[in-house]
């Protein structure tokens, strides 16, 4: 069964007065970021999205999250068109987006608070999700007192605390150092194995994309659409040592082959557009 369907999505931004970009040698005051993008995501599936920078991955997540409207096409959850933020979905950002004036526990409570969950219950649930991420004892810390890895754990705990059916993650580990990143990938998988939430995870790391995913979706250079979907038929639960296996290397090679031309195209595109900005 499909949980999320994205059908023939396009997104065009109108630029501010005076700004132009050059698309196919023509000057334009609008920029088409997504065009003809189709994607179906099954219930409980872990999808990773890879593609060159600027290919509209974040915009796609925003559309699915109901934070921005598509110019054309529809995104739907369980067959219903998405028209605004939906309680069945939760969003995790690269820069954590924690409220700096709230403690770790209060940050997690926020998501429950705005849904009208009572104080005692949301405390208990927030505590549960904090300890799920090994953050027991850090309840009263403010974000500024936590490392980046801990902050992102809190942010993921906040997202999961509302028991979403779909978890959207936009390069959540990109700002972390390599070791923390590896640890968080394993932690995320461990928790996901239990919850089996549908996940759409954007990353620019091919290694991360293959390690986490059931399917890796490669997006083309701008305007973004699905170039190819690579099935990752590696066994779960995924062991750390999996990364050293020839199958893993083979899959990474396949993803890179698909992406290479797109990254080159994107770089050419930038060279043009940055000259006119």
């Amino acid at each position: 069964m499909d949980r999320i369907t994205v059908a023939d999505i396009a997104k065009t931004f109108q630029l501010k007065p005076g700004q132009t970009v050059t698309v196919d040698g023509l000057r334009s005051n609008s920029i088409t970021v997504l065009s003809g993008l189709d994607l179906s995501i099954r219930q409980g599936e872990f999808i990773t999205l890879v593609g060159p920078s600027g290919s509209g991955k974040s915009v796609l997540l925003d559309i699915v999250a109901g934070l921005t409207d598509a110019t054309a096409g529809t995104a739907s959850i369980d067959g219903e068109a998405i028209t605004g933020p939906d309680p069945r979905m939760a969003y995790v950002f690269q820069q954590y987006a924690l409220f700096p004036w709230r403690t770790a526990l209060e940050n997690i409570e926020y998501a429950l608070e705005v849904r009208g969950v009572g104080r005692a219950e949301r405390r208990a649930r927030a505590r549960h999700f904090l300890s799920l991420f090994g953050l027991h004892g850090f309840e009263d810390r403010y974000p500024s007192q936590l490392s980046g890895g801990m902050q992102q754990r809190v942010a993921i705990a906040r997202a999961l605390s509302v028991e979403p059916e779909v978890l959207l993650m936009d390069e959540p580990f990109a700002a972390l150092d390599a070791q923390t990143r590896d640890i968080l990938q394993s932690e995320l998988l461990r928790i996901w194995e239990r919850l089996r939430t549908t996940v759409i995870f954007v990353t620019h790391s091919i290694d991360e994309a293959v390690y986490l995913a059931d399917r890796v979706v490669a997006i083309t250079a701008r305007p973004g659409r699905v170039k190819e979907i690579i099935d990752v038929d590696l066994p779960r639960p995924r062991a750390e040592g999996l990364r050293n296996s020839p199958e893993f290397a083979h899959l990474k090679g396949r993803v890179w082959n698909v992406l290479r031309d797109e990254v080159r195209a994107a770089q050419k595109d930038w060279a043009l557009s940055s000259a006119t900005h």
Binding site: L67, P85, A97, F99, W101, E113, V114, S144, Q145
Partner: protein
């Protein structure tokens, strides 16, 4: 607001940057800059004592410090000093409170709605650059010599600090936090209460600090020009009556009160932003 200002200091393991009220003041007083500055201050006091005694200054206009302190003691013992200070604080406090009530909602609207800001900005900028002192005669003409004109000048003195800082605070809300809050289904009202307002608090409190001082200074000036009570009146009246010692006593008290107020406000500002990282606080 209570959950920012009124929170009991959380126990935060080894990163403990929450200090209770008294120790914060004690720390300021005990800090090395105060100690280092003490000799010069004492030298000034000594000079104050000896200059009139040795005839360097006319003791009628510039009595020795000991005479000023004894006049101060009399004013305190008779309750007169407390009465005048109380009245000044009441005026400044009322004007400041009124300014807060007006400026914060207005600042939210101006900071949040570009069209509203566009429509009001020119007016605000014009009013802001009119000195409250220049307006005192106007206030007296329109509101009379009584309390209303004094409250008006303290209001005017504080309101723009509060307004500008509220606008800045509201505008500086991290757009990612807004996005995250919206993705969690935050209603517009909750967005104001739970995201925009707490984001703006540090800036608003900084504006309050400036506003309180401006209110107090303005009320002194107003009392010197048109009042029968208040610390400003006490100082001005003592000068007219050639009671120089009383005049200096009033000035000393005002300085001392201003100093205390400043420390109190710095402390409140710290409390309101206690969740911010202090240097060296962040784990790696």
């Amino acid at each position: 607001m209570t959950y920012v200002l009124g929170r009991s200091a959380p126990v935060a393991g080894k990163t403990d940057f929450h200090r209770p009220a008294l120790s914060a003041v004690a720390r300021l007083w005990g800090s090395s800059t105060v100690l280092a500055g003490l000799p010069l201050l004492l030298a000034l006091c000594l000079l104050w004592e000896v200059a009139p005694r040795l005839g360097w200054m006319n003791p009628i206009f510039f009595p020795p410090l000991s005479a000023v302190l004894s006049a101060l003691w009399d004013l305190i013992a008779s309750g007169e000093m407390a009465r005048h200070i109380g009245i000044s604080f009441e005026r400044a406090g009322l004007g400041f409170l009124l300014a807060t009530v007006v400026a914060i909602p207005l600042g939210f609207l101006m900071g949040r709605y570009a069209a509203f800001e566009k429509a009001t900005d020119l007016l605000v900028q014009t009013l802001r650059n009119t000195s409250q002192f220049a307006l005192l005669p106007v206030f007296v003409l329109l509101l009379g010599i009584g309390e209303a004109s004094k409250i008006a000048i303290t209001f005017y003195a504080a309101v723009f600090f509060l307004l500008v800082n509220t606008i800045v605070g509201v505008k500086s809300v991290d757009s990612l936090l807004l996005k995250a809050a919206k993705s969690m289904g935050t209603s517009d009202w909750d967005l104001f209460r739970k995201v925009i307002f707490p984001s703006a608090i540090p800036s608003i409190v900084a504006g309050m600090r400036l506003g309180v001082k401006a209110s107090l200074f303005s009320v002194i000036a107003a009392e010197m020009l048109a009042a029968r009570s208040g610390i400003g009146f006490l100082i001005q009246n003592a000068q007219l009556m050639l009671k120089a010692a009383d005049m200096y006593a009033g000035i000393l008290v005002l300085t001392f009160v201003g100093l205390l107020l400043n420390y109190a406000l710095v402390w409140i500002e710290r409390r309101a932003t206690h969740w911010r990282a202090d240097a060296g606080d962040q784990p790696h």
